[in-house]
């Protein structure tokens, strides 16, 4: 019982790190521009497929392909932001939803066209996957890597946002966009960089997720709900909130699958609806 609990907590935490990487960019960009970007997980899929291509067709090592996944996803997101998204910052939620859902549909079909609908794999090196034994409990080595990686990225993000000039601009824009503009902050530029960064992180998350959940063209739709839950529950524009929400969601999803498999995803949706009714702006949201 105790060992299963430890496994669930450990795996859930690792899964939560993955969800955090996938969703933190969306949380910050939503907080800044109020833009409902449902295509965020398509950026993650871009990163994932970039890794698959580099590893399987060009023989790159896993760790070397991760930065490329980040760059590819960041590039795609910045191109979309410049060409399509920027026209809709003042439009209604509905228009933003529709545009980005349209992009999701296009991306799903495009991935199916280029990579078929089969599950893709990109195996990390053997030394990363070796299990680690503590007492009589086995921990998957790759999940430990995920946790360390996720914590490192979180620390970097917090440093970037709390300690740098750019971070101060982003925080100002999240708190009050008009005031920030009034003070001479170039919000559009800050937003573009944040958007690229968020898209890149999602791409990184997509690449890291292949080993855990696999990768097929419907990835962008399947993970959309989880990412939105993290963002909505964590509160817009809050890194700490997204982190907490992602960890809680990851652990409760694992626990649900382990202890109540017949409930399926029911529990997750129930918790989300209840939390949103209790605090519509999210657990840590300001608005």
């Amino acid at each position: 019982m105790l060992s299963s609990l430890a496994t669930v907590l450990f795996d859930g935490f690792a899964y939560g790190m993955l969800l955090f990487l996938l969703s933190v960019g969306l949380s910050v960009t939503l907080g800044m521009m109020n833009f409902v970007n449902l295509a965020h997980c398509s950026f993650a899929a871009v990163g994932g497929y970039c890794t698959v291509t580099l590893m399987n067709s060009f023989g790159w090592p896993f760790l070397a392909s991760l930065p490329m996944a980040f760059i590819a996803a960041a590039l795609v997101s910045v191109v979309l932001e410049r060409t399509l998204y920027r026209h809709l910052y003042r439009s209604s939620d509905l228009d933003q939803c529709l545009l980005t859902i349209g992009i999701v549909f296009v991306s799903v079909a495009a991935f199916a066209w280029f990579y078929t609908t089969e599950q893709q794999s990109a195996r990390p090196p053997e030394w990363l996957r070796a299990p680690i034994t503590v007492g009589d409990i086995n921990f998957a080595g790759y999940r430990l890597f995920l946790i360390v990686f996720g914590l490192a990225v979180t620390a970097l993000l917090v440093l970037l946002l709390e300690r740098t000039r750019f971070g101060a601009q982003v925080r100002a824009a999240v708190d009050n966009q008009r005031m920030a503009r009034g003070l001479g902050i170039d919000v559009d530029r800050a937003f573009m960089i944040t958007f690229a960064l968020g898209g890149g992180l999602a791409g990184l998350g997509g690449a890291l997720a292949i080993e855990v959940v696999g990768l097929d063209p419907t990835f962008a739709l399947a993970f959309l709900v989880y990412v939105l839950i993290v963002v909505a529950v964590g509160g817009l524009g809050s890194i700490g909130g997204s982190f907490a929400a992602a960890v809680v969601l990851g652990i409760s999803d694992m626990a649900g699958k382990y202890y109540f498999p017949w409930l399926g995803a029911f529990l997750i949706y129930l918790v989300m609806v209840a939390l949103l009714m209790w605090r519509p702006a999210g657990l840590f949201g300001k608005r």
């Binding site: 349209g102 079909a109 199916a112 066209w113 709900v225 963002v231 409930l263 609806v273």
Partner: protein
């Protein structure tokens, strides 16, 4: 000077184009009898889109989980026909009642939220129902769908494979619901809904009970979606889990936006175009079908913000 009742009376008058349109809906009986099944599916989809139009186009409630009511209607009609009573009209009434009760219960949650929380809540509630139906496989048949639905005769007419009865039935129900919708939209209540859509803060300030109005509209839309679901059950004699899926919610949204939200005929025009196109391109893989749908969505949002009907009326205004 025009008074209020004069304003409403003038709006209610039928345009010749409208009469022509409804006469045209009778054409499939004589012109394309081979496509009557498709025509009945179009009528059902149009009714579903019309119900979404009421809350999205007129009341401004964005919903990503409207299939919940469609599915509730489909399953309640299916369960009634399977276990107790195969007569379709009774199933229609039961489905409307069941979807109405679920809709009324949900409306208390949904109308209090806006923006992201609203989108997430409608999505979450829809997914919740989908998962519940999937888990309760003893009652609903789970992922295999509800098998063995025996639909009885309607006024002595059987539902045959040519779809003659199916289309007449779907079309009649669509027309009745359309009349109800038309009446609602051109009433002071409909005007109040549009007021809430345009400015949710000012309407309560002038004394309109805006939350009560929204709850009422949401419940009516749920009833109509439930009726559409029951029609699908009766005309196909099966209920699949797909009736509750996110895909169906997204499809109906696409249809409404394509035709033009906030216009009475938007959902109907959208349904005709969407369903005929899907039938024509049924040879291609559904994966790639969604590529074109996605592209269409992007183009409509960027260049045709009010849908096809909005574009036509803008052209019409320009030419005058």
């Amino acid at each position: 000077m025009e008074n209020a009742s004069g304003h409403f009376r003038q709006k209610v008058r039928w345009h010749p184009l409208e009469i022509a349109f409804w006469l045209c809906t009778l054409l499939p009986f004589v012109v394309t009898p081979a496509y009557l099944s498709l025509a009945s599916q179009i009528a059902i989809t149009a009714l579903f889109a019309l119900s979404l139009d009421l809350i999205l186009g007129y009341a401004g409630i964005v919903s990503l989980g409207h299939a919940a009511f469609f599915g509730v209607g489909a399953y309640s009609a299916g369960l009634l026909a399977k276990h107790y009573w195969g007569e379709p009209l009774a199933g229609l009434i039961l489905a409307a009642a069941a979807a109405g009760i679920v809709g009324y219960a949900m409306s208390h949650i949904v109308v209090r939220f806006r923006h992201l929380a609203l989108i997430m809540l409608t999505l979450g509630l829809g997914l919740l129902l989908h998962e519940a139906a999937n888990s309760a496989s003893d009652l609903t048949g789970g992922a295999d769908g509800l098998q063995g639905v025996k639909v009885g005769t309607l006024f002595g007419f059987r539902f045959d494979m040519f779809g003659r009865t199916a289309y007449a039935y779907s079309l009649a129900v669509l027309f009745v619901c359309f009349l109800a919708c038309r009446r609602i939209i051109h009433s002071p209540f409909g005007l109040a809904l549009r007021g809430i859509r345009e400015n949710a803060v000012r309407m309560p300030a002038i004394g309109a009970p805006s939350l009560a109005h929204l709850r009422k509209a949401y419940t009516i839309a749920a009833v109509m979606a439930g009726i559409a679901g029951a029609l699908l059950t009766h005309t196909t004699s099966t209920v699949s889990l797909e009736t509750l899926s996110f895909g169906r919610s997204a499809d109906v949204l696409v249809i409404l936006i394509l035709g033009g939200a906030g216009r009475l005929y938007g959902g109907i025009i959208g349904a005709i175009i969407y369903m005929v196109a899907r039938d024509q391109f049924s040879g291609i893989n559904p994966q790639y079908w969604y590529f074109w749908i996605g592209l269409l969505l992007v183009l409509v949002v960027m260049f045709l913000p009010n849908g096809i009907l909005g574009g036509i009326s803008a052209l019409d205004k320009k030419s005058q």
